[in-house]
C-alpha cells in the first residue's frame, strides 16, 4: 500500500503513533548512546587535562582523525538539505516522507562536526578568539584564511538548517498538539506557536518556506566547497586541486544519503511506517547515490590523470604512494566502497532490496570516512621533503572521542524520533490526491 492510498487521518494517526510513550528497550538504546557520548567527553576532558600529545597528531601529520571526522560529519549533513531544499525546489514528491528525518540528521551532524575543530584546538577555552569582535588584544580573524571562511560557513549552515528544520515542524506540531495530553499537550501547544492553519498563516508560511529553500540550496553547495578549500587553497600535493569543490560536494551527498538509508531502514521497521516510507523512497535515494558514486569515481580517476598529465613529480609521487604505500588499504577501501560497490545499484533487484540497500549504505559510509582520512593524512605524511616525511596512526584517545561523537549523534536522533514527528504529516498529506467528486461540484451563482 502506498501513501497515496491513505487518508489524511490515517497519515496523521500513523505518524503520531510513532510518538507514543516509549518501551523499555528505547530507554536502553538512548541510555547506551548517552553513555558512549559521556565516555567520549570524558576522554576529551582527559586530553584537555593532559595535552594534545595523547592524540596521535604530530609533525608532519598535524591534521588526523579529528579533522577527518569534521569533514565526514559536515558531509553527512549535506543530504538533509539536498532532500529538504533542493528536491523541494524541484518538486520531487518522493522526498515528502523522508525529508524530516534527513533534515534532523543534518542539524545533528553539523552540531557533531562543529565539536571537532574545538576538540582539535587543544586549548578549547580560547576558542572565542576566532570570533570577530572588537577586543583589547586588537585580534581580528584573518578573513582571507579558508579556515575562518569555514567557521563562518559552518555557523551559517547550522543556523539556517536548524531554522529550516524547526519552521517545517510547526504545522505538524500543531497536528500532534491536538492529540496530545498532559505535559506533552502543553509542550506541543507552546512549540506550535499558535499554528491553526488559517489562510493567512499558510500564505506567509509557504512564501517563507520557499525562500528558506532558495537560500539553503546555494548554502549547502557553498559549505562543502568552503570545506574543500581548507585543503585546495594550500599548495600541498594531493590537496592543491581545482576539482575539490564539486568532488567534495558530490562525496558529501554520497555519504549523507547512505546514512539516511542506514537510519531509515530500521526506523520504518521499528515505527511500523512502511506505508509511508516505501521502497520507492529507497530506490530513488539509491539512484542519486549511483549518480554521486559515478561522480566520485570520476573524480578519483581524474586526480590520477591530472597528476600524470601535469608533469608535476610531487603530485604524481603522492598519488602513486596513496595507492601502494603505507595507507594503501585505506585507499582501496575508499575506491571499492565509494565507486565500485554503488554500481550494484544499476540492478533494480538490488536497489529495491532492503538488505542490499543497508549493506551497501554502510559500506559507503565506511568508504567515505576513509576518503577523508586518505586525503588528509597521506598528503601531510608525504609532502615535498622526504626528510620531513612521517606516518600517523590514531591513538585510543582519538578513537574514543570519535566513538563518543557517534553516541552524541545517535542519541540526538533517537530522542528526536520519539519527541517530534520524524515524517512530515503535512507534506505527506499534500501528495495524497484529492478526489474530485463530480456529483458534488456546484457552480456558484
Amino acid at each position: 500500500m502506498k501513501s497515496e492510498n491513505l487518508t489524511y487521518r490515517e497519515v496523521n494517526d500513523l505518524v503520531i503513533a510513532t510518538l507514543s510513550p516509549p518501551k523499555k528497550y528505547y530507554y536502553l538504546i538512548v541510555g547506551f548512546f548517552a553513555f558512549v557520548f559521556a565516555a567520549g567527553m570524558s576522554i576529551w576532558l582527559y586530553m584537555i587535562l593532559t595535552g594534545l600529545g595523547v592524540a596521535g597528531i604530530r609533525h608532519p601529520v598535524m591534521w588526523g582523525v579529528f579533522i577527518t571526522n569534521f569533514v565526514f560529519w559536515v558531509g553527512i549533513a549535506h543530504s538533509g538539505t539536498l532532500i529538504s531544499a533542493i528536491l523541494y525546489l524541484f518538486r520531487a514528491e518522493w522526498r515528502m516522507s523522508i525529508y524530516r528525518s534527513a533534515e534532523a540528521m543534518t542539524v545533528f551532524a553539523v552540531a557533531t562536526a562543529g565539536m571537532y575543530p574545538l576538540i582539535h584546538l587543544g586549548r578549547v577555552w580560547v576558542a572565542y578568539w576566532i570570533f570577530p569582535y572588537p577586543n583589547e588584544m586588537l585580534l581580528w580573524p584573518n578573513f582571507k584564511s579558508p579556515l575562518v571562511m569555514d567557521v563562518i560557513a559552518i555557523t551559517t549552515y547550522l543556523t539556517v538548517s536548524a531554522t529550516f528544520f524547526l519552521i517545517g515542524l510547526v504545522p505538524d506540531i500543531a497536528a500532534v498538539r491536538e492529540k496530545a495530553t498532559g505535559w506533552r499537550k502543553k509542550l506541543y501547544t507552546f512549540l506550535s506557536f499558535g499554528w491553526h492553519g488559517t489562510q493567512d498563516q499558510w500564505l506567509h508560511y509557504n512564501r517563507a518556506y520557499l525562500f528558506f529553500a532558495a537560500l539553503a540550496t546555494p548554502l549547502v553547495i557553498s559549505v562543502h566547497s568552503v570545506v574543500s578549500w581548507d585543503f585546495a587553497l594550500s599548495i600541498v600535493p594531493g590537496w592543491h586541486s581545482t576539482i575539490f569543490a564539486p568532488y567534495f560536494v558530490a562525496g558529501a551527498i554520497h555519504s549523507g544519503l547512505a546514512l539516511v538509508i542506514t537510519l531509515l531502514i530500521p526506523l520504518r521497521k521499528i515505527f511500523k511506517v512502511e506505508k509511508l516510507i516505501t521502497i520507492n523512497n529507497f530506490e530513488n535515494m539509491a539512484k542519486v547515490i549511483l549518480l554521486t558514486g559515478l561522480i566520485v569515481g570520476y573524480a578519483y580517476a581524474i586526480e590520477y590523470f591530472i597528476a600524470w598529465y601535469s608533469g608535476n613529480p610531487y603530485e604524481l609521487a603522492i598519488f602513486k604512494w596513496r595507492a601502494s604505500g603505507d595507507y594503501a588499504v585505506a585507499f582501496w577501501i575508499m575506491v571499492i566502497c565509494n565507486s565500485i560497490v554503488p554500481l550494484l545499484f544499476f540492478f533494480k533487484k538490488i536497489r529495491t532490496n532492503l538488505a542490499w540497500l543497508l549493506v551497501i549504505a554502510i559500506l559507503i559510509n565506511v568508504g567515505m570516512w576513509f576518503e577523508r582520512y586518505v586525503i588528509i593524512v597521506t598528503s601531510l605524511a608525504h609532502d615535498f621533503l622526504p626528510a620531513a616525511w612521517g606516518n600517523y596512526a590514531p591513538t585510543w584517545v582519538e578513537i574514543g572521542i570519535s566513538l563518543g561523537s557517534w553516541g552524541f549523534f545517535l542519541m540526538l536522533f533517537f530522542l528526536f524520533a520519539k519527541f517530534l514527528p520524524s515524517i512530515s504529516i503535512t507534506e505527506v498529506k499534500e501528495i495524497i490526491p484529492v478526489q474530485k467528486k463530480k456529483e458534488n461540484i456546484h457552480e456558484s451563482k
Binding site: 489562510q199 525562500f211 557553498s222 478526489q435 458534488n440
Partner: protein, 167 residues
C-alpha cells in the same frame, strides 16, 4: 443576537470546500478558512496578494552582503598586513564571507518576516477553530445574522458540508 450568529462548517473534500468558499466570496461574506494542508487553489480563489515576507528576505540579504564585506574589509584594514601574498583588502576571498552573511541575514530576516506577518506566536483561541482542521477537515468560520446563517447553512450543506459547530 442569539448564539447562532457564528457558525463553522466542516468539509471532508477540498473541491467541495472550494465551491463553498467560492460561493461565500461571491456573497461578499467575511470568513476565516482553516485547512490541514496548504492549497494554491484557495490562494487563487481568494485572490490573495503574495506575502510580503520576500521583502524581508531581500532586505536581510542585502544587509548581510554589506555586513560580510564590511566586516572583512574593516578588520583587514585594522591589521593592514600582507597575508598569503594578498593585499590587506582582497575582495576575492571576501566574496565567500559576503556570500555566507547574505544567506545568514537573509534567512534570519525571513524568519522575522514570517513571525511579523503571520503574527506568531498567537496562543489565543481562534474563532471557530476545531482540532480536526489540522487533521483532515477543511473548515470555514462565518459570522452573520440568524437568518443569514440559517440560509447559509442550507447552502453549505448542498455544497457538501458534513458538520456544523456553533460558537
Amino acid at each position: 443576537m442569539n448564539q447562532n450568529n457564528k457558525i463553522t462548517a466542516a468539509f471532508d473534500n477540498l473541491y467541495e470546500f472550494l465551491n463553498a468558499v467560492k460561493y461565500l466570496k461571491s456573497q461578499n461574506k467575511k470568513f476565516i478558512i482553516y485547512t490541514p494542508i496548504p492549497s494554491h487553489e484557495i490562494e487563487e480563489l481568494l485572490t490573495l496578494k503574495k506575502s510580503k515576507v520576500a521583502w524581508f528576505t531581500l532586505i536581510g540579504a542585502i544587509l548581510g552582503l554589506i555586513t560580510g564585506f564590511g566586516l572583512a574589509i574593516y578588520t583587514s584594514a585594522q591589521w593592514n598586513l600582507i597575508l598569503g601574498g594578498k593585499p590587506p583588502i582582497s575582495l576575492i576571498p571576501f566574496v565567500v564571507i559576503g556570500f555566507e552573511f547574505t544567506i545568514l541575514f537573509g534567512a534570519i530576516s525571513t524568519l522575522i518576516g514570517l513571525i511579523y506577518f503571520g503574527k506568531f506566536p498567537k496562543y489565543k483561541k481562534f474563532d471557530g477553530y476545531k482540532s480536526d482542521f489540522t487533521v483532515d477537515k477543511f473548515g470555514v468560520f462565518i459570522e452573520g445574522s440568524e437568518n443569514e446563517i440559517n440560509n447559509l447553512k442550507d447552502k453549505l450543506i448542498s455544497f457538501g458540508a458534513k458538520e456544523f459547530f456553533y460558537d
